[in-house]
Amino acid sequence: MTSNSPSEKRLEELREQAWKDGVVPGKGVDVAGGPIPRKPGYYGQPVVKPPVWTWEIPLYFFFGGIAGMSAVIASGAIIFHHVDPSLATNVGVARAAMWLAAIAGAVLSPVLLIMDLGRPRLFLNMLRVFKHRSAMSMGAWILSLFGACAVPGLIALELHTQQIFPGTFDQLLRVAAGIFIFGSAIFGTLLATYTGVLIGATAIPAWFLHRTLLPIHFGTAGLGSAAAVLELLGYRIPALNFLGFYAAGVESALLVWLSVDKHGAADRAIHEHGSGWLIRIGEILNGPLAIVLRLFGQVPLAALSFLIGALVSRVGWIAVGKVSGSDPESVFAAERY
């Protein structure tokens, strides 16, 4: 029986629509899914687990990169001061770089890493074993050895440059400073690059598909950031300017590489999702924009642009990992390759 009242009419319409279309979409009613689920995989559930890491990790990647490459810059400055003693500024650069290496690498980095642990009080368990097949284990050892070189290296360098002890002991300090600083440079290059291996050798598609690019990006961003911090501290020397150009040039090339090297659904988190924009914005800031600013002589702005870019792209890479790890189709697509 039909009624003429509007509310009854509405119900008649709904009945008509249900009969014709088999489904009635409406406000507050989710008709998607049943009875046969159409989401990818098992009800769209993630196949691999997204990373549990929080803000400490991208910040650690940033400071670890600065610390490691600062030690390299310090070594370079010391070598060429030794060759040509007239390069007095090099001593200043070396001292500042070693302070940077020690503060970022032996204080900030371990604190950030320990904060991210689920059970921070057990952090020393990292040094229970040495596993070359675990990038995390290698990283823990690299960071420890870096700290064990950078801190004594800095102390010896300071005592030597301020001539606190006389005679032979000062000569001994000079040798010790050299050995420890070169040691921290070797572990420093690994500290800045291993983080790319760390996330590249995982089950997260957007990460492992770019495992070759990641160490280059993280390491070079570390070198450029270390030079940028020193420039912002007032060391406006041509050597650091050259390193700024070098790092920004490599980062620009990586920006092109990343936009060409697409893997369809497997790494769509980078190319289609918002977090991919963090990576690209970061790469623009520490790539082309840093070069342009440097060409126009805006060194402090170029340094600042590079630093922000290096931080933003690291945040982006972790964010992309979370999106990619939660996407079942990415995992299936990556394995069909």
Binding site: A201, G219, F332
Partner: protein
């Protein structure tokens, strides 16, 4: 086999740990009734905290997925396919086929285990029976195993749950096995959909079961045991109906250590390039 009573490998005492025999789980959805006794038994025996009571809307599955506090997970698949030669009323006619499949998911205890390789503390170890075990008192919760498992099994337990911060997954009831007991989930399974036993016996049993099902019209029955990939086989393997993707199982799981070589090569190249660039900078631009 069903009907063996206390002689079944799911019920009788064993000495696999002492004898260092490789053991496994064979999980067969064709006899699973979706009772979730395995989930309950696992939680009760292992004192695993609950992980929330929410309605997923996904069939009868309100568990969702394996995780730090979910070590057995019964999946409920609704598929538009016929279940073997079964004819059970109008729903199974050719033009409107439907089947409901239940499968109890669990840690795979890989032959080459991503979590074990990734663990920087040595907390994750291989036991005498070939299973993969997390030593809870050693784990410091770094979270690297979480992204290294190709099956998304292991996870870090969040606050405010009991024993939060560490990584957890199925222990294969190692504590029970040491005492000659069968894992809790297999012990309680009323239809022996979960079978516990020697791995070689189970593999033979699985292959036999696939043949049997195919004769009964289950044309898409297959074993899920990725022996061809770098995972090199799993100790808890499954019989599945249809494609692995529908069960959220990766079709070709790989252990992430295979990516190490190319990533480290790139890292070393970057390290050398950075040193050279720095030397050039100070040599020619001072």
């Amino acid at each position: 086999m069903i009907g063996e009573g206390i002689q079944s490998t799911n019920q009788r005492k064993h000495s696999y740990v002492r004898d260092k025999v490789e053991v496994g789980f064979f999980t067969d959805p064709s006899v699973c009734i979706g009772c979730k006794a395995c989930e309950v038994a696992c939680k009760e025996w292992n004192h695993v905290p609950d992980d929330g009571f929410t309605w997923s809307g996904n069939s009868y599955d309100n568990t969702g997925h394996l995780g730090a506090s979910t070590w057995r997970h019964v999946m409920f698949l609704e598929q538009d396919r016929q279940k073997g030669n079964q004819v059970a009323g109008p729903m199974s006619l050719d033009d409107d086929p439907f089947r409901w499949v239940f499968l109890s998911d669990v840690c795979k205890h890989c032959e080459e285990a991503g979590c074990l390789e990734a663990c920087p503390t040595g907390s994750i170890v291989r036991t005498e029976v070939g299973s993969v075990l997390v030593q809870n008192d050693v784990c410091n919760g770094c979270g690297y195993c979480v992204v290294s498992c190709p099956f998304g099994v292991i996870d870090r337990r969040p606050e405010p749950l009991h024993d939060a911060g560490g990584a957890f997954k199925c222990t294969f009831c190692y504590d029970r096995q040491k005492s000659g007991l069968v894992p809790a989930c297999a012990k309680v399974c009323p239809t022996e959909s979960i079978v516990f036993g020697r791995l070689d016996d189970l593999r033979a049993r699985g292959a036999e079961r696939v043949q049997q099902l195919k004769q009964n019209g289950y044309n898409d029955a297959q074993l899920y045991d990725p022996t061809e990939t770098s995972v090199r086989g799993i100790h808890a393997f499954f019989l599945i109906l249809g494609e692995p993707e529908a069960y959220g199982l990766p079709p070709k799981p790989q252990i992430p250590t295979i990516y190490l070589k190319s990533a480290w090569t790139s890292a070393f190249a970057t390290a050398i390039a950075s040193i050279i660039a720095t030397l050039v900078a100070f040599a020619f631009f001072s």
